[in-house]
Amino acid sequence: MSQSPLIETINLTKHFDLGKQGGVRQVVHALDGISLQIAEQEILGLVGESGSGKSTYGKTLIGLHDKTAGEVRLRGETLPAHYHPRDFERHATSMQMIFQDPYSSLNPRMTVGEIIGEGLKLHTKASAAEVRDKVTGWLEQVGLQGEHAGRYPHEFSGGQRQRIGIARAMILEPEFVVCDEPISALDVSVQAQVINLLDDLKASMGLTMLFIAHDLSMVRYVSDRMAVMYLGMVVELGPANDVFFSPKHPYTEVLVASNPEPDPITERSRASTTISGEIPSPVNVGAGCRFASRCPKVMDICRSTTPELNPLKDDSKRQVACHLF
């Protein structure tokens, strides 16, 4: 990338220590050395199965988890490994998160106005009247009405709640937003509403986003670049269309082939593409490629040496972590 990234992670690692079991320390390798850069106004899509570490990456990036190793840089400035309350205060206005479940992420005992305005009250010197005005403005901007501010979350549908979550994150006008599966709990007709809203906001506010999801076609639609994670590591990275239409890593190939398309003819002509097995446990993973146990193209070297994420020879925009390349 030519311009300097807005946010980057260098070797970001997050392990969860489960304590000793049978004299052996059990460590969950949720993230192992993830280096990604997100340029200004770029949307990076992050896909992978559950348990691949996508959400942990988003949360660690934004400071909701302490980092085990590695660093996060925002405009070149290294962010603390462990966030103190004052660090949150400092960074809340530049980084925000939209959560997956619009049902559990909104406090049921606060009115919508309180939920959306809370960030402003905490992090700025805005007066009560200013907060009220801004909340009304944002409610309208996300397609709700100003008078909804006095209502409680249970009075809204899933799609409306997700809009409330978006307004809550956006009211501080952050530069960078982590969207953690913002649409997977919603119906198809409503998903498009939320995606278009995010698109509009991106255009009007110049947002930079990390878009985490497991629906590949949606991620391709939304993102500029796409990163594919498997068991705590990035296995493929590149322009979203390239990754989707000509996947290189065997895991990406499987993911794309497993994604059913709303087109019966395509589906009928599709050979069975399933791979056997499931994502293995991330506890105490050994050396070698993490996909080796399920990979249809596995070689001897895969079981002993961990492949690194390297640019493709013929396309420097794309990176793949696989011994085949």
Partner: protein, 340 residues
């Protein structure tokens, strides 16, 4: 076509709630044929699950109430019945799997015992025979080391494995029909593909019919022979999978399709959401249920419930725009021309 295995006609279901009476299902009819997959699609709250649950006697009554309707299987109405000629309907004639396998299984019983249970109850197997059959069934649903797995408990299984165990249990008594209510919604795509393949293989091997409830049009395209599109408790479009995808004739079906990303590199596709939300089923609209969100709504749509129009022998649409004197006509959204 041959005789349908199941013929549902004019099913109407209501629920009494504090807020009044919810008319969840408002006159649904469909046929299911042996060896075929019928997919029921629609968004949350459109009545997909209630339709099949009421047929199976799984809705609590009260507050639920089946106002009218018949579901004929072997010329016998199964609504409100437990058995046909001494054979239990639930478990034996019709098997069912649910969305969330974790909460559908008993955490205190081993997987093998749970699969064996229907065999003990319905088929008169001995305990030993039933357990041996359970191991076979686990093997059929491609669970590795079935013998060992059968002795384990649900918490030792992953989500995909649990769904396989659920399928094993549902097909234990070799039912003629399997109802799968959002069987893969909670699973990852790679696991979803495995489960869908498994269901297809079982259908081919056993010749059973499948009713697949889903909101994912991709899953429909992959699995279905016939499709029912439901909206606000009614069937708005019904036809073969090609009819519904390539000759979509209801604005709601078109709306759903336009709201989904198309995986075509050349197409500069924008997502077109369906504005608004489904109607309140406490007071269903007098006219068409979709009228408030429909981009082509006419005056008549508000006032009277549309008739069902036949597009072809296999294809129907519940929309006024097919009336001979309708002023508005919407062309179908086609990805690809299909030879008729």
């Amino acid at each position: 076509m041959s005789q349908p295995l199941l013929k549902v006609e004019d099913l109407r279901v209501e629920f009494d709630t504090y807020g009044g009476i919810v008319q969840a299902v408002r006159g649904v009819s469909f046929d299911v044929y042996a060896g075929k997959t019928l997919a029921i699609v629609g968004e949350s709250g459109c009545g997909k699950s209630v339709t099949v649950q009421s047929m199976m006697g799984l809705i609590p009554m009260p507050p639920g109430r089946i106002v009218s309707g018949t579901a004929l299987m072997h010329d016998v109405d199964i609504i409100g019945r437990k058995e046909i000629d001494g054979r239990d309907i639930r478990g034996r004639e019709i098997g069912m799997i649910f969305q969330d396998p974790m909460t559908s299984l008993n955490p205190t019983m081993s997987i093998g015992d749970q699969i064996a249970e229907p065999l003990l109850v319905h088929s008169g197997y001995s305990k030993k025979q039933a357990f041996a059959r359970a191991v076979e069934l686990l093997d059929m649903t491609r669970i590795p080391e079935a013998e060992k797995r059968a002795r384990q408990y649900p918490f030792e299984f992953s989500g995909g494995m649990l769904q396989r165990a659920m399928i094993a249990m549902a097909i234990a008594c070799e039912p003629k029909m399997l109802i799968a209510d959002e069987p893969t919604t909670a699973l990852d795509v790679t696991i979803q593909a495995q489960i869908l393949d498994l269901l297809n293989d079982l259908r081919r091997e056993t010749g059973m019919a499948i009713i697949l409830i889903t909101h994912d049009l991709g899953v429909v395209a992959r699995m279905a022979d016939e499709v029912l599109v439901m909206y606000a408790g009614q069937v708005v479009e019904r036809g073969s999978v090609d009819d519904v995808f390539y000759r979509s004739s209801h604005p709601y079906t078109l709306g759903l399709r336009a709201a989904m990303p198309v995986n075509d590199r050349s197409a500069e596709h924008t997502l077109t959401p369906i504005d608004g939300s489904p109607p309140d089923l406490f007071h269903p609209p007098k006219g068409c249920g979709y009228c408030a969100r429909c981009p082509n709504a006419m005056k008549i749509c508000e006032d009277s419930d549309p008739e069902v129009y036949a597009m072809s022998e296999t294809h129907t649409s519940r929309c006024w725009q097919h009336h001979p004197s309708a002023t508005v006509r919407v062309a179908g959204l086609h990805y690809r021309e299909v030879e008729a």
